[in-house]
C-alpha cells in the first residue's frame, strides 16, 4: 500500500485523540475550513481552489463519475489501480495508453493525437507502479492547449518527487491536481485527500469533503502545522530507497528509477512474492497490470529493508543452479 513506515508524530496522535471526543457529533465545519486554509498555503494556491476528500482515491472516483459523460476517459497503463478499475467500470468510453518497459515513458505525440475529442485525461505523476515521472512542464502546457481536455494529475507522491503542477491551477480552469496526506504525512489511516481544482471542476467538487471525521481533520491540522517531521521522514525514505536500490542491483535484480517511496523491480523468479510472504515480507505483485516478474517494493524502516533484502538474497540464492 506504499504507506510511510514511521508513525505520526506524538502531537498528531494527541490531536486525533482530542477529535475522538467529538465522535457523537457530525463534523463541525470549522476544522475543515482551517485545514483547507493550511493546505492552500502548503500548495501556494487560493483557498477557494482547495477541495477536501476522504482519500485521494475517492476524489479520483468522484471525478470519473462526474466528468466522464460525453468524454473519453484516458489513462496510462499501468496506473494507480483504483483509477483504472473505476474508469473500466463506470466510464462510458475509455482508452489507456500502454507504457512499455524499459523506460515506461509516455509518448507525448501519441497522447496529443488522442485528445482530439472531449476527454478526461488522468495521469499519476509519478506513476504507480513504475515510480517514473510521466509529465513535465512542457507536456502539461501542451495538453492544456487542447481545448476539449480536462487534465487530472494525481500527485500522491509529490513530497517524494518534489515536482508539482499545483501552481498552474489558478491560470488553467481545466486542470485538477490531486494529492493525499496518506503517504508523506504518515496519515494513511486518516484518509485525508485533497485537490487543487481549476474552475471547470470546482462546482461539482466543492462540497465533496464536507464529512471528514473530526479525528482525521485534527490530525491533519496538527501534521501540517509542523511539517518538519514529515520532511525528515521523506528524507529518510528517499535515502533508504537509494540504499535498497543499490542492494537489489548487487543481487542482480533489475531496479527501475523511482521518484516515490517504492521501487519497481523485475526478476526472473515469478513466484517471488509468495515466497517472500512466507518469510514475513509483503511485496506487491503487480501482475494485474504488468507481466509476471515485476514487483513493487515499498520502502520501510532500515530494519525492515534489511530483512527484505536478506530474505530476497536467500530466495535468489536458493534458485541458483
Amino acid at each position: 500500500m506504499n504507506e510511510m513506515p514511521y508513525p505520526p508524530a506524538s502531537h498528531v496522535i494527541d490531536a486525533a485523540q482530542q477529535g475522538l471526543a467529538w465522535m457523537n457529533r457530525y463534523t463541525d465545519p470549522e476544522p475543515g475550513e482551517a485545514l483547507r486554509g493550511l493546505l492552500a498555503g502548503y500548495c501556494g494556491v487560493p483557498r477557494q481552489q482547495l477541495v477536501l476528500s476522504p482519500g485521494s482515491d475517492v476524489l479520483l472516483r468522484e471525478v470519473i463519475h462526474s466528468f466522464s459523460h460525453g468524454r473519453k476517459v484516458i489513462t496510462a497503463s499501468p496506473s494507480f489501480f483504483p483509477t483504472v478499475q473505476t474508469a473500466r467500470q463506470f466510464a462510458p468510453e475509455s482508452l489507456s495508453i500502454r507504457l512499455s518497459p524499459p523506460d515506461f515513458d509516455l509518448n507525448l505525440e501519441l497522447l496529443l493525437g488522442v485528445l482530439d475529442s472531449p476527454s478526461l485525461l488522468i495521469i499519476d505523476n509519478p506513476n504507480n507502479p513504475t515510480g517514473a515521472m510521466l509529465l513535465d512542464q512542457h507536456t502539461v502546457s501542451a495538453i492544456l492547449e487542447q481545448s476539449e481536455t480536462l487534465l487530472v494529475i494525481d500527485e500522491a507522491y509529490y513530497e517524494f518527487s518534489g515536482l508539482t503542477f499545483a501552481a498552474m491551477v489558478p491560470d488553467h480552469a481545466r486542470l485538477l491536481v490531486i494529492r493525499t496526506m496518506d503517504k508523506a504525512f504518515s496519515l494513511a489511516g486518516a484518509r485525508i485527500g485533497y485537490g487543487v481544482a481549476g474552475e471547470a471542476f470546482l462546482d461539482d467538487l466543492s462540497l465533496f469533503g464536507a464529512f471528514l471525521p473530526q479525528a482525521s481533520l485534527r490530525a491533519a491540522l496538527a501534521a501540517l502545522e509542523q511539517p518538519g517531521y514529515m520532511r525528515e521522514n521523506v528524507r529518510r525514505v528517499v535515502e533508504e530507497r537509494r540504499q535498497v536500490g543499490q542492494a537489489l542491483a548487487r543481487l542482480g535484480v533489475r531496479v527501475y528509477p523511482s521518484c516515490t517511496n517504492f521501487l519497481l523491480v523485475r526478476t526472473e523468479a515469478a513466484d517471488l512474492a509468495a515466497r517472500l510472504s512466507e518469510a514475513g515480507v509483503l511485496v506487491s505483485e503487480v501482475s494485474n497490470q504488468l507481466p509476471r516478474g515485476f514487483l513493487r517494493i515499498t520502502i520501510g524502516t532500515p530494519e525492515e529493508n534489511d530483512t527484505f533484502v536478506a530474505a530476497l538474497a536467500r530466495e535468489l540464492s536458493d534458485r541458483s543452479p
Partner: protein, 368 residues
C-alpha cells in the same frame, strides 16, 4: 466425494536450464545429461503437492516411477499408481498415460513440465477434461501454465471448490530458434484450465471488478459486433477471443483457423491465402480481426500464417483490428509482427488500438 485427479511428471523437463541449454527436446536431453544436468521436477512437484489445501478432498491417480509415484513420498494425499513406463521415458509415455487416466474418468489432469509436455497433453486429451500445468520446463510460454507450483496448487483447490474452466493457449515453440535467442512460436491448440479469479488489489480499492475471461471476451464481442459494417468482409483469425465474436453472431468458428464473415453469415471456413484472395474479388471492403498470442504478443506472422503479406497488403495495415482481454495484454510488454516481409512489418510499427472491452481500448506499441 473426493475428486479424482491425474498427475503426470515429465522427469526431464527443465534439465536444460541449469546447464545453459534451452530445452530438452530430442537429442538435447542427452546433451544435458552429459553436461551434468540435475532433475528439477522433484522440487517443483514437491512444492506443488505440499501446497494443496484440500488434501482430504482429492484422490490422485499418478503415473509410475519418476513420472509420478516417486514424488508422492511424504505427501499426505491418497494416490493410486496407474500404467507402466520403462527406464527411459518419452513423449509417448505422457500421451499414453494421459489417455489411460482419461479412460479411468479423472476429473482433472495435472502435468509437470514445459511447453513440449503441454503439447503432448493437448494431443492426448484435447478439451475433454480440464488440466493444470505446473511449470518446470525451460520453455514455459504457453498460458496453460500456472505462474508457479504454488499457484498451480491454488488452481487445484479452486477446482475442488467448484470454479469454472477457461480455454488457454498451448504454444509450439521452435526450440532450435529459441537456442539462438529467437522466440519463434505458433499457436498449437487450447486446453481447459480452472479459472482462478484474480482478486485485484484488496482493501482501499473497494470496487473489485475482477472479470472472468469469459465475461471479458463477451464484452469485446458485443462491442465488435455492434460496430460491424454489413458491407465489410471480416476475416477472423484464430483464438477463443475471436470465437466469442462468432458466438455473439450465433455462428460457429474454426478455433485454430481463419474464418470469413460477411453481413452476419460465414462465407468461408478455415480459409487459406487462395480462398481469401478469391473472396476479395467479391468483397471490396475488408477487415482482419486478430488477437495476440499470449506471452509473446505476436498479432501477425505467428499462429496465423494464413494472413500472408499478399493478403495483408490487399486488406491494408489500417484495416487490421486487434482484440484481447485486459488479462492477456497486461502480460505483454508490446505487440509484435513478423510477416516475413520487412517493408510490410514497418507499416505496422508504432501504436495500434486494441479493443479490450466494451467501448474500452488500449493503445499498444507494435515492435518488429
Amino acid at each position: 466425494m473426493a475428486r479424482s485427479i491425474g498427475l503426470i511428471v515429465n522427469p526431464v523437463a527443465g534439465m536444460g536450464g541449469s546447464v545453459g541449454l534451452k530445452g530438452t527436446d530430442g537429442a538435447m536431453y542427452h546433451k544435458a545429461l552429459e553436461l551434468g544436468a540435475e532433475p528439477v521436477t522433484p522440487a517443483r512437484t514437491g512444492d506443488f503437492l505440499a501446497h494443496i489445501q484440500h488434501i482430504e478432498d482429492v484422490s490422485l491417480l499418478v503415473a509410475p516411477g519418476k513420472m509420478g509415484a516417486w514424488h508422492m513420498d511424504g505427501s499426505a494425499i491418497r494416490f493410486e499408481i496407474i500404467g507402466e513406463t520403462g527406464q527411459a521415458t518419452s513423449a509417448q509415455d505422457t500421451k499414453r498415460l494421459a489417455g489411460e487416466m482419461l479412460d479411468r474418468g479423472i476429473d482433472l489432469l495435472i502435468f509437470v513440465g514445459g511447453d513440449g509436455t503441454a503439447r503432448d497433453i493437448c494431443d492426448a486429451v484435447d478439451q475433454r477434461l480440464p488440466v493444470v500445468g505446473v511449470p518446470a520446463g525451460v520453455k514455459v510460454f504457453s498460458s496453460v501454465f500456472a505462474v508457479s507450483p504454488r499457484a498451480a496448487a491454488e488452481m487445484v483447490d479452486a477446482f475442488v471448490e467448484g470454479t469454472r474452466v477457461t480455454e488457454q493457449e498451448v504454444l509450439d515453440i521452435d526450440e532450435a530458434a529459441f537456442r539462438e535467442d529467437r522466440l519463434a512460436s505458433r499457436l498449437y491448440g487450447y486446453l481447459l484450465v480452472p479459472e482462478v479469479r484474480r482478486f485485484l488489489q484488496a482493501g482501499k480499492a473497494a470496487s473489485n471488478i475482477s472479470k472472468s475471461a469469459t465475461q471479458s471476451k463477451q464484452e469485446i464481442a458485443a462491442y465488435v459486433v455492434e460496430e460491424m459494417d454489413p458491407g465489410t468482409l471480416y476475416l477472423l483469425g484464430p483464438g477463443t477471443t475471436l470465437r466469442s465474436i462468432t458466438d455473439k453472431m450465433a455462428l460457429t468458428k474454426t478455433l485454430l483457423g481463419v474464418d470469413a464473415v460477411h453481413a452476419g453469415y460465414t462465407v468461408g471456413r478455415d480459409v487459406n491465402e487462395g480462398d481469401m484472395l478469391s473472396l476479395f474479388e467479391r468483397y471490396r471492403r475488408r477487415e482482419i480481426i486478430v488477437t495476440p498470442i499470449g506471452g509473446n504478443g505476436f498479432i501477425l506472422g505467428r499462429g496465423s500464417k494464413q494472413f500472408t503479406p499478399e493478403v495483408l497488403r490487399r486488406v491494408g495495415s489500417d484495416k487490421v483490428r486487434v482484440v484481447a482481454t485486459c488479462a492477456k495484454v497486461s502480460q505483454l510488454e508490446c505487440l509484435r509482427v513478423d510477416t516475413g516481409d520487412a517493408a510490410l512489418d514497418d507499416m505496422f510499427r508504432g501504436y495500434i488500438e486494441v479493443t479490450v472491452g466494451y467501448r474500452e481500448k488500449m493503445l499498444m506499441e507494435v515492435r518488429c
